[in-house]
Amino acid sequence: MGQATDLGMNRTGIGMAPRLSEAMIRDAEISIPTSGGDGRQIERLRREYVHNAPPIGSTPPPATVKGAAKAGMQMLKGQRPSVFLDKLGERLAFERTGTRLYEALIAKFDELGSWDQGPTRDELVTFHNEELAHFEMVREAIESLGGDPTVVTPSADVTGVTAMGLLQVITDPRTSLTHSLDALLIAELADNDGWQMLIRLADASGQSALSRRFQQALTDEDRHLRSVRAWLNAEMAQDLKGGPHTRKPH
């Protein structure tokens, strides 16, 4: 497999078709729009739909009143429990999808290999296992608060939409390991901030035990983020010198 930075016949720019693009630019310059105004009309329509839009969904009450009472929902001092549950649902969905992202990444790694100071298989497997463990940690947290961990909360739903592009990049067999790590970097950045927010929410809700457990997850996520950045920096440095020396793992 060649590098994405190898020179080739990319046809998307006007430079590949100078005569055609010259004619095209000339035609556009003399054309007359059929409706007046500018792009701000789009803003007006968007605002109108935003004004009339109901919420994307809601956070359900605890699965059982008994469960909530026994488990400490009332212990969320002075806080609306739905806020915490919504964000816990988001983290749960993100970690679960993150686990699947690492699986697709490991398959790509196994076929394409890595570079000097790039990821090792052991590191990718460790990070995968940590995403899975974080998912389980959040699931237990939701249950301990009397919530239903199978619910897709509004924030979980929205984060799922956000992650679709990342999935598309990483599962595409034509993208390089570097492209996939670029996508993973976005995931790890969001994940890192997500855990920090969850810790603040746990602290504000008087859930100190949960806060301590989440701190451990954040420590893991910090390491993921630093590692992905370092792998990408190493690859770029080697690419600039003529391409990294990719080694197949087998």
Binding site: I56, R96, F135, D157, P173
Partner: protein, 390 residues
């Protein structure tokens, strides 16, 4: 109270108007609305898309009908837009796919349970077990590539377990054609059922053919390719049960009656008031189409529409879980196989050489549906939940 379609004339065709704002409304909520609201929206999109498809085919073959067909078709186009644009954008193509299969399972089960013709009941139950399996395969795909639980879409109404294995559903065309109902003796509900299910399957085929290439993952691309092929078989099967000797006008009349029947069915159980209002409006519009076509039918075929149409609409489609019904069909009919027009016990009678050769060739490099669901058992909150606790 049953709807008297001969008396109820709905909204006349020349008073049926739309604006873009009117068509492009706030979608239903993927999270908060009942799964059967989504099921109804998807089926009605299929019913409308069949109306347009039939109308175009008819227009190519009937020069004198071109203008009236075009007039009704233009309204159907905007009705379909109004309905299909109710799908929310946070519902991914794969989540929508899960919902399509829920439509296939629950609506086909309702139709099979109410179909008076025993042979056609069997046809529906046969197709049902195959779509039921597709739901299981797509659920495995969603779990294993996206880390999402298909039951967030199904809302526990429909089981996620294997049906007739998709890898074994591939059949030669010779074994896909069925015996058609007799236009002169079949009950009206038989004709409405056939059109309803054919419309649903046709849009499912078209949807998979459309969204399959949007997936990056080769596992998804292969699975959509495989299941789209079965949906093409299903369209072939369900198309073949309608009497080919019905006239073009007769078929048009039945299409309009099917639309009225389906909107009326939706109206009976819709829980979202915003969407119920749409079902009511479009039911009234379809009654307008029906009466427009009834008048044409009298002029062109010189026959009385009452010979074909029921005076009152049959019992509506039941938008509810058919879990017990489906389980019974699963327990009794998993081994059925199609040979020519017949359904046979696969343990006693071999499938045709044509089907066996066709299937063997398609599965030469393995079966995507077997691979994606290898060892898969649905588990609440995805199989990762089970793995994390192991």
């Amino acid at each position: 109270m049953a709807l008297d379609i001969m008396k109820e004339k709905g909204v006349p065709l020349d008073r049926q108007h739309f604006s873009w704002r009117d068509m492009v409304r706030v979608p239903f909520s993927k999270l908060d609305d009942d799964a059967f609201t989504r099921v109804r929206v998807i089926l009605m999109n299929g019913i409308e898309s069949e109306a347009i498809r039939f109308s175009h085919a008819s227009s190519r073959m009937n020069k004198d009908l071109r203008l009236p067909l075009a007039k009704v078709r233009r309204v159907e186009q905007h009705q379909q837009t109004m309905v299909n644009w109710l799908l929310p954008p946070d519902q991914s193509p794969l989540e929508t796919t899960i919902a399509y299969e829920q439509v296939a399972v629950e609506v086909t089960a309702s139709v099979a349970a109410h179909e008076p013709d025993p042979y056609l009941q069997q046809v529906y139950r046969y197709g049902l077990l195959e779509d039921f399996d597709h739901l299981y395969r797509y659920s495995a795909l969603m779990d294993r590539i996206e880390g999402k639980d298909a039951n967030n879409i199904l809302q526990s109404y429909t089981d996620i377990v294997p049906g007739r294995p998709t890898a074994e559903e591939h059949r030669a065309p010779e074994d896909e054609l069925r015996t058609w109902y007799d236009r002169k003796t079949a009950a009206p509900i038989t004709k409405l059922n056939a059109l309803t299910i054919m419309a649903g399957e046709y849009q499912t085929h078209d949807y998979y053919m459309h969204v399959g290439p949007f997936f990056a993952d080769p596992v998804a691309r292969q699975l959509y390719a495989e299941i789209a092929s079965i949906e093409e078989q299903h369209v072939t099967q369900y198309e073949s049960i309608a009497d080919p000797d019905e006239t073009w006008m007769e078929k048009w009349l039945l299409h309009e009656a099917t639309e009225v029947y389906n909107y009326y069915s939706c109206l009976q159980t819709e829980s979202n008031p915003r969407i119920k209002e749409i079902w009511q409006r479009l039911c009234d519009y379809e009654l307008g189409h029906l009466h427009f076509v009834m008048d044409l039918y009298k002029q062109v075929d010189k026959r009385d529409p009452a010979e074909i149409l029921p005076a009152t609409l049959p019992e509506p489609i039941k938008y509810e879980s058919h879990r017990d019904y489906v389980r019974e069909v699963l327990s009794k009919e998993m081994n059925l196989r199609a040979v020519g027009h017949r359904f046979v016990d696969g343990a006693k009678e071999k499938e045709s050489d044509a089907t066996l050769a066709y299937r063997k060739h398609l599965n030469t490099h393995g079966s995507p549906s077997d691979m994606v669901a290898a060892g898969y058992r649905w588990y609440t909150g995805t199989e990762l939940g089970k793995l994390a606790r192991a």
